[in-house]
């Protein structure tokens, strides 16, 4: 597992609304740049720095960001500490307006672990953490300094950031003490039991739980079909997203191939231009080679766009839809717990009746106590079930709004990047056209 040390930075920044990426004007006490390596690991580790600010728009929002990881035990210039200014409407629950902490990857998994078992959060769509990738992390640890490990680190950083942003966007989760501890506390105890999440992943866990629910003998008869219909919709959308994800993956691969082939073609055009003995044509061919080189650049950027804008979005939502399914399962389990309690109560009443008939006064008292106990449980579980139903409905609606916003945002981003590509393409060819016309 990747480990990191905690690091806290305190600043007292003047509030300003949109200075997102300004470096700190005045910094308060700043810990030294040397980090004491965590005792457990010998290999170089990576750390993530976590910083927060409060967003201008909504007074209940907290904006989080995860900045570049660093390696401990190897000399590397520390990631630039970005201190974010914040808005005046500060959340009273946080001690400081701007702060940062260091967290390990396993801490993020641990946070999810804690939230997923809380009964107070039952029915909520708890954002699932990013999956661990053993291959990617090994490369980083071994110190391979190639573009794929840099890409992996950036991918993980962005995924962790999105994860945390979703957590703090959730009104209930933001109130949760474990979340606050995660955001604020200097040192977190090492998270245990994250193996289940890190291995084959989050979805496997969800699906296993789902199967267990389906195997339960007592089935629900819904008077309101909203839950059934919605669950079906969720399942169908999850399937669609999987297909889409495969399409995006294939597109990224094809585009990378196109990149390579364009670069190779550009070189061959340059060579042809060199051997052409008509001067103007020779120059035009060299210019064409340059245009193709620029196209290759465009293709590269587009491939990154494909990936970071779409592939990651789809992967996130495949997991999120799994989490939504998880809520529905939780509601089912709540119903079943209620039904089982009712059936137990019924058995207790029958037992009491038998005792009355058999005239055993000593056991009768106990039986009466048990009946009272189970009557209370039945009431409690019924209330729980109703409450979880309400929560699930609210959560699904909130989730759908977020999803719509997310998808629209990403599609818009992609269209804008395509737009920019076309604008640059136009510039390239407009510069080339006169050269072609000058051939004589």
């Amino acid at each position: 597992p990747c480990n990191s040390d905690a690091h806290m930075e305190l600043t007292t920044e003047k509030p300003s609304s949109s200075a997102r990426k300004e470096p700190p004007a005045s910094s308060g006490p700043r810990p030294a740049a040397s980090f004491s390596p965590s005792p457990a690991a010998a290999a170089p580790k990576s750390m993530e720095q976590l910083e927060e600010e409060e967003e201008a728009k909504d007074s209940f929002d907290v904006d989080v960001s995860v900045t570049n990881p660093e390696k401990v035990g190897q000399y590397l210039p520390p990631a630039p500490s970005l201190c974010w200014s914040q808005h005046e409407t500060s959340l009273p629950m946080f001690r400081n307006k701007t702060f940062s902490v260091r967290r390990r990857f396993s801490d993020f998994l641990g946070l999810y672990e804690k939230m997923s078992v809380k009964s107070s959060l039952h029915g909520c769509v708890i954002p699932p953490p990013p999956e661990k990738s053993v291959m990617g992390m090994t490369k980083v640890k071994v110190g391979k300094d190639d573009p794929s490990s840099a890409e992996f680190l950036e991918r993980r950083r962005a995924a962790l950031e999105r994860y945390l942003q979703r957590v703090v966007c959730h009104p209930l989760l933001l109130q949760d003490p474990d979340v606050r501890e995660f955001l604020e506390k200097e040192e977190l105890p090492r998270a245990v039991n994250t193996q289940a999440l890190s291995g084959a992943g989050f979805l496997k866990m969800i699906n296993k739980a789902s199967d267990a629910v389906n195997k339960m003998t007592i089935k629900m008869n819904e008077s309101d079909t909203w839950f059934e219909d919605k669950l079906q919709e969720v399942e169908s959308e999850e399937q669609q997203l999987r297909k889409l994800h495969a399409v995006v993956d294939s597109l990224v691969n094809h585009r990378k191939e196109l990149c390579g082939n364009t670069a190779v073609f550009a070189k061959s055009m340059a060579m042809l231009g060199n051997s052409e003995d008509n001067t103007a044509l020779s120059r035009a061919l060299s210019q064409l080679a340059e245009v193709e080189d620029k196209m290759e650049q465009l293709h590269q950027e587009q491939a990154a766009s494909d990936f970071f804008i779409f592939a990651e979005l789809l992967a996130d939502y495949i997991r999120l839809l799994g989490a939504v399914r998880g809520c529905f399962d939780q509601r089912m389990r709540a119903w079943q717990r209620w039904q089982e309690a009712q059936s137990t109560l019924q058995k207790k009443r029958e037992a009491e009746a038998k005792l009355l008939w058999a005239n055993k006064p000593d056991k009768l008292q106990q039986a009466k106590e048990e009946i009272t106990e189970w009557e209370a449980k039945v009431t409690q579980y019924e209330r729980d079930f109703d409450r979880i139903g309400v929560t699930v409905r609210k959560e699904v609606l909130r989730f759908e709004e977020e999803k719509a916003k997310d998808f629209k945002g990403q599609i818009v981003k992609y269209l804008e990047s395509m737009l920019q590509s076309q604008q640059r393409l136009i510039k390239f060819w407009e510069a080339f056209l006169p050269e072609a016309k000058a051939i004589a």
Binding site: E233, E237, Q240, L241, L244, V247, V248, L251, H254, R255, E257, L258, N261, T262, V264, F265, S268, M269, M271, L272, N274, S275, E276, D277, N278, A280, L281, A284, L285, L288, Q302, D306, F310, E400, E401, K403, A404, F407, K408, I411, V412, Y414, L415, E416, M418, L419, Q422, Q423, L425, I426, W429, E430, F432, L433, A436, K437, I439, A440
Partner: protein, 398 residues
């Protein structure tokens, strides 16, 4: 699914700038693609007295074009000319195979998927068909434009004789003979290429052509690969699916008409994407392919001249020997005069041919590169508009 039969009316030729004049105009007015052959309708308009009519058409197949080309190559009188390169054999094998596989897999896909793939493959087939027609037409136009070749008797027969020319494909023996001829030619070629020419012009041309030909070959192969990649990178298809997904699963306010508009836009974006790849194919890949063949024909001319030079030098040596021994001097003198005459004749026409080749090449590149740039700009501007319209719909959808 069977291979489609296509009929093409008035196809446009690949752009090679050629002088066309009223005395002889040739084009392929019609073409029919059948199961295993293509039938070209060769249409001629001429004011020359050699022909019985001023306008007429015949139907020809690929083998007949090859027969005509080979007859030029084998004609000693044409040794000093660049023989227009033969058009490549129509090759629908790959396309046909794909269509067959599609037919076999029909049961395993939805009707929608099947229809879409069928349309795509038919479009591909049609594109290959158009190209082969263009290649055959260009060959005929080059011959018609050549001051000497246009008078060739075989050419006139090809244009006018309205029966089948009965030129069977070469049998095994003939193919073997061809193979050996080529081996000898290339061995000769190596020999000749090594000899430094006294004439600066030809020396320069030899050096230039050898390098140029190799580089065009490389560029042609690489352009094919790049364009193939381009054709299989379906960005806009993805965009379209994502927009559908968004419209179906994600909108809270459903403005159906507006979202339909994004579908129209993304569909048009797909069309442009396909056109861009097709235009690059036409203006760049085909141009390079053509000049690969033309530069080979020019090299062949240089080899023929080189061989004539070797023959001439050998005849000189034989004459010296004969004079020294005072035996068969007259014979040697005649032989030497013939070789000299042949060499000088080839050199004279070759010089003009090579100059014309350069002019044609420069003109063809200019035309295609200008058209390529203009098309890229047109498509990019089209894309821009469509992307902007998609964006405005999405940003307006709350």
């Amino acid at each position: 699914a069977a291979a489609p039969a296509f009929i093409l009316k008035h196809p446009r030729a690949v752009n090679v700038d050629l002088q066309t004049d009223a005395t002889l105009q040739v084009d392929i007015s019609d073409a029919l693609s059948e199961r295993d052959k293509v039938k070209f309708t060769v249409h001629t308009k001429s004011t020359l007295p050699n022909f019985k009519q001023s306008e007429f058409s015949v139907v020809r197949q690929h083998e007949e074009f090859i027969w005509l080309h080979d007859s030029f190559v084998e004609n000693e009188d044409y040794a000093g000319y660049i023989i227009p390169p033969a058009p490549p054999r129509p090759d629908f094998d790959a396309s046909r195979e794909k269509l067959q596989k599609l037919g076999e897999g029909e049961g395993s896909m939805t009707k929608e998927e099947f229809t879409k793939m069928k349309q795509e493959l038919e479009a591909e087939y049609l594109a290959i068909f158009k190209k082969t027609v263009a290649m055959h037409e260009v060959f005929l136009c080059r011959v018609a434009a050549h001051p000497v070749l246009r008078k060739d008797l075989n050419f006139h027969v090809f244009l006018e004789y309205n029966q089948d020319l009965s030129v069977r494909g070469k049998n095994k023996k003939e193919k073997l003979e061809d193979f050996f001829k080529n081996v000898v030619k290339s061995a000769d070629g190596v020999l000749v290429a090594g000899v430094k020419d006294v004439d600066d012009f030809f020396e320069h041309e030899k050096t230039f052509l050898l390098e140029y030909h190799n580089r065009v070959k490389d560029a042609s192969a690489k352009s094919d690969r790049m364009i193939r990649s381009h054709k299989s990178t379906h960005t806009t298809a993805l965009l379209r699916i994502l927009l559908h997904h968004y419209a179906y699963y994600c909108t809270t306010t459903v403005k159906v008409e507006q979202l339909l508009m994004t579908d129209v836009s993304s569909h048009l974006l797909q069309k442009i994407e396909a056109r861009v790849a097709a235009d690059e194919d036409l203006k760049l890949a085909d141009l390079l392919k053509y000049y690969l063949r033309e530069s080979q024909a020019a090299k062949d001319l240089l080899y023929r001249r080189g061989r004539a030079l070797v023959d001439y030098e050998n005849a000189n040596k034989a004459l010296d020997k004969a004079r020294a021994k005072n035996r068969d001097v007259l014979q040697a003198e005649t032989s030497q005069q013939l070789c000299c005459h042949k060499f000088e004749k080839i050199s004279e026409s070759a010089k003009q041919e090579l100059i014309d080749f350069k002019t044609r090449r420069v003109a063809a590149f200019r035309k295609n590169l200008v058209e390529l740039a203009e098309l890229e700009l047109k498509h990019a501007k089209g894309n821009l508009q469509l992307l902007q319209s998609c964006l405005s719909v999405l940003k307006g959808d709350t």
